[in-house]
């Protein structure tokens, strides 16, 4: 009976192993990259689908808030902090987006994390932010939303979180995400 000698078998196995491992690696790579970067509104945007978390607490100005009141229509939630540098950069863009979209019935709500009420109020005043913010201390609402760091922006439609924008964003991206969610 003829069998390959151990030497040639080893060489062949090594080459085959290499190829198989490479194939496995490429498959893993492509599987991991397929999920991101394909959204029409840009690489930071991703579709989501989960219920808006239950939350009641207080706003930065001290008045109370319950997310039950944000279950209807389209709502943009922006997770931010007055200490967060990219949040300062995107603040004028959020203001612009809020002013452009509120006539169409879209409501905005900030989620201020790891902050002080004074710092947050000063921020809102500095940038003339036209919408209120939840004072989220500890960061329970942001955690339930799945925001890993500020800034993160969510688009909510009829009580369902439908879209997320991770990182610093701008008015056009927010408008695009809102249109995308409202169209769907």
């Amino acid at each position: 009976m003829t069998r390959p000698t151990p030497r040639s078998l080893n060489v062949r196995s090594a080459a085959l192993t290499l190829r198989l491992v490479a194939a496995a690696a490429i498959m893993t790579l492509s599987a991991c990259t397929a999920g991101s970067g394909s959204h029409a509104c840009g690489p930071q945007v991703a579709d989501q689908d989960f219920a808006l978390p239950e939350f009641s607490g207080s706003l930065v100005d001290g008045s109370s808030v319950d997310l039950v009141d944000y279950r209807e229509g389209t709502v943009v939630l922006n997770v931010w902090g007055s200490w967060c540098a990219p949040c300062r950069v995107e603040a004028p863009e959020l203001k612009k987006a809020a002013e452009a979209l509120s006539p169409t019935g879209v409501r905005f709500l900030g989620v201020d994390v790891r902050d002080s009420t004074t710092g947050a109020a000063a921020f809102d005043e500095e940038f003339a932010i036209p919408y209120p913010s939840v004072f989220d201390d500890p960061s329970q609402l942001a955690a339930d939303l799945g925001a890993s760091s500020p800034p993160t922006t969510f688009v909510v439609r009829d009580g369902d979180v439908r879209s997320v924008i991770r990182g610093q964003t701008d008015a056009d991206t927010i408008k695009c995400a809102v249109e995308h969610v409202n169209r769907a």
């Binding site: 196995s13 198989l20 496995a24 002080s116 329970q140 955690a143």
Partner: protein, 560 residues
């Protein structure tokens, strides 16, 4: 060739029977399953050599983060490389060397390693089970194989009685004995545990690596500082630093809340071994679950998440008012020890002012007033010789907050920055002041007023989730256990042949008593020298139980 040498499935060179068996196995017509198992690629995948290559690759991959700064532990350094070496940075980004542990290629090595190990272990385990089952299988009748040790003697006992005696001797010596064939031949074996140990070793390696992978990909580790009276949510957003961010996203976090009600530290001057304790409450799903004291040696353990007391510090509450009297900053500032003259230092930023303001604060829990001569020796430190205080002890006797005011551009718009560092490159030092705890505060030259409103401790926790820990522990202990047989056990076999003496049967015609011929053969597959003594021992014991005939000279053909 011997017919008695039953198939054994062992791997030593002496065992020609195994090779023969392998050859005959190869001749079996291929079933689909067998054809699949014999695909050349699969054969390469299930070689231990591949597993070792992958293990080496894993070690190399694990070394990379010690040479290249990682985004989770050192984002500023990574950003700096991006600015200074844009080309190499983009190459590194593509290869994911700045976040190795979350990179697909790192995960691919892990997955391949575990798969190859498994493909390696399954056939070996099957072969082992087959070997155990066949090692003492009833041999076909024939002559004994050629063996290193053989002894033969005649006895007056009947064949059945002699066989029973030999059996009981071997049983007492813990030999695994097979069933005899019609000719009175059978095989006994000892030391199968050696291969079992080797298998155990490799399976526990698999277990250990699975545990490590579980911890690496499902687990996480980070730190968080909580100020007394504040709460922390076990979610990525509330962490301050990471040592392992985990690879499978943020959904593996538990999201419960830990409230730090009080932090206590013993006075280092009076306590022999100063202890520090955090009084915490765990709140989950809106309900308080339990309260606990966390000591350095007593972590909090809830839903698989462990929180260890790591360190602590002072967090003064600082209130800043603008010239109109409006509060523009009111928060706890985390300070770290190691500032000038034993002070604790921290940073606060007030970006809403125009121009922006930043403060470096120096906390003296127990300040001592210096004479100008004493202060002169500190002229070169950050505070300068204009500040006439130094710290005496860590106890909050009459806490004093010294602050250095900077005005200008905080640089917040130019990208992420460390919250604990004041970037003064676009700022000028405006004023210096000091405030006592609870006092009226200090009015700065430009109209800002700073008040030192409160002083609390903050407590730093190291927070970990280690889902593979149990697997790693079990794997590591079994690994050692599996090594023991490899060191102390050796596999050896005995062939036993008890049959009526053919010569005596012939002589039976002359009327002499029936005699029995006993043959013992032995072979050791490891540590053969030691086996000579053991074989002699077994033979002596068997001869004591089945005494040799005295009248005839016995044949002792013990070969070297």
């Amino acid at each position: 060739m011997s017919d008695l040498d039953a198939p054994t499935g062992n791997t030593t060179a002496e065992d020609a029977g195994e090779r023969k068996q392998a050859a005959s196995f190869a001749d079996v017509p291929p079933t689909p399953m067998r054809a699949f198992a014999r695909l050349p690629g699969l054969r390469a995948l299930r070689s231990m050599r591949t597993a070792i290559y992958l293990l080496i690759a894993l070690v190399i991959a694990t070394v990379v983060p010690t040479l290249v700064p990682q985004r989770i532990t050192n984002p500023e350094k990574v950003a700096e490389i991006g600015r200074t070496h844009p080309y190499w940075f983009s190459v590194g980004e593509r290869l994911r060397v700045f976040d190795v542990f979350t990179s697909p290629w790192y995960m691919a090595i892990w997955v391949s390693l575990l798969v190859v190990l498994l493909l390696c272990l399954l056939p070996r385990t099957r072969a082992f089970v087959r070997q155990v089952r066949r090692s003492t299988a009833t041999p076909r009748a024939g002559t004994l194989p050629r063996l290193p040790h053989t002894v033969e003697w005649r006895t007056d006992a009947g064949p059945e009685a002699a066989a029973a005696q030999v059996r009981s001797v071997l049983r007492r010596r813990l030999w695994r004995q097979g069933r005899a064939n019609d000719a009175g031949q059978y095989v006994a074996e000892k030391g199968t545990v050696r291969e079992a140990g080797s298998l155990l070793f490799h399976w526990s390696l698999f277990l250990l690596l699975t545990g490590l992978a579980a911890t690496r990909f499902l687990g996480y580790a980070g730190q968080a500082a909580i100020v007394e009276g504040k709460e922390f949510v076990e979610a990525p957003i509330d962490y301050d630093a990471w040592t392992n961010r985990g690879s499978l996203g943020d959904s593996v976090h538990r999201g419960f809340t830990v409230a730090l009600d009080r932090f206590q530290v013993d006075d280092p001057d009076t306590a022999e071994t100063p202890d520090f304790v955090s009084d915490v409450r765990v709140i989950d799903g809106g309900r308080e679950v339990f309260a606990q004291q966390v000591h350095p040696n007593v972590p909090l353990n809830y839903r698989g998440v462990k929180m260890y007391q790591l360190s602590f510090g002072w967090a003064p509450e600082v209130v800043v008012r603008d010239p109109s009297g409006k509060v523009v900053f009111d928060d706890f500032v985390l300070t770290r020890p190691g500032g000038p003259r034993g002070s604790w230092t921290g940073v606060l930023k007030v970006p809403s002012l125009e121009p922006q303001a930043g403060f470096r604060v120096f906390l003296f829990p127990d300040p001592q007033v210096l004479t100008p001569e004493q202060a002169a020796q500190f002229a070169d430190d950050d505070l300068g010789d204009g500040v006439l205080v130094a710290n005496r002890s860590p106890n909050p006797v009459a806490p004093l907050l010294v602050f250095e005011e900077w005005r200008g551009d905080l640089g917040l718009e130019s990208g992420p920055q460390n919250v604990n560092v004041l970037d003064v490159s676009a700022m000028t030092r405006a004023d210096v002041g000091a405030a006592q705890l609870g006092g009226d505060g200090f009015d700065l030259d430009d109209g800002l007023a700073v008040r030192f409103a409160d002083l609390r401790h903050y407590s730093v926790f190291s927070i970990k989730r280690d889902p593979g820990l149990v697997l790693v522990l079990i794997g590591a202990s079994l690994l050692l256990l599996g090594l023991i047989p490899a060191l102390y056990s050796r596999r050896r076999r005995l062939w036993v042949w008890v049959r009526p003496d053919p010569d005596a049967v012939d002589a039976g015609a002359e009327g002499s008593a029936a005699a029995t011929l006993v043959t013992l053969g032995g072979i050791a597959y490891q540590r053969k020298d030691a086996f000579s003594d053991e074989f002699t021992d077994v033979v002596t014991a068997c001869r004591a139980a089945v005494p040799p005939q005295e009248r005839a000279p016995e044949s002792d053909v013990s070969k070297p």
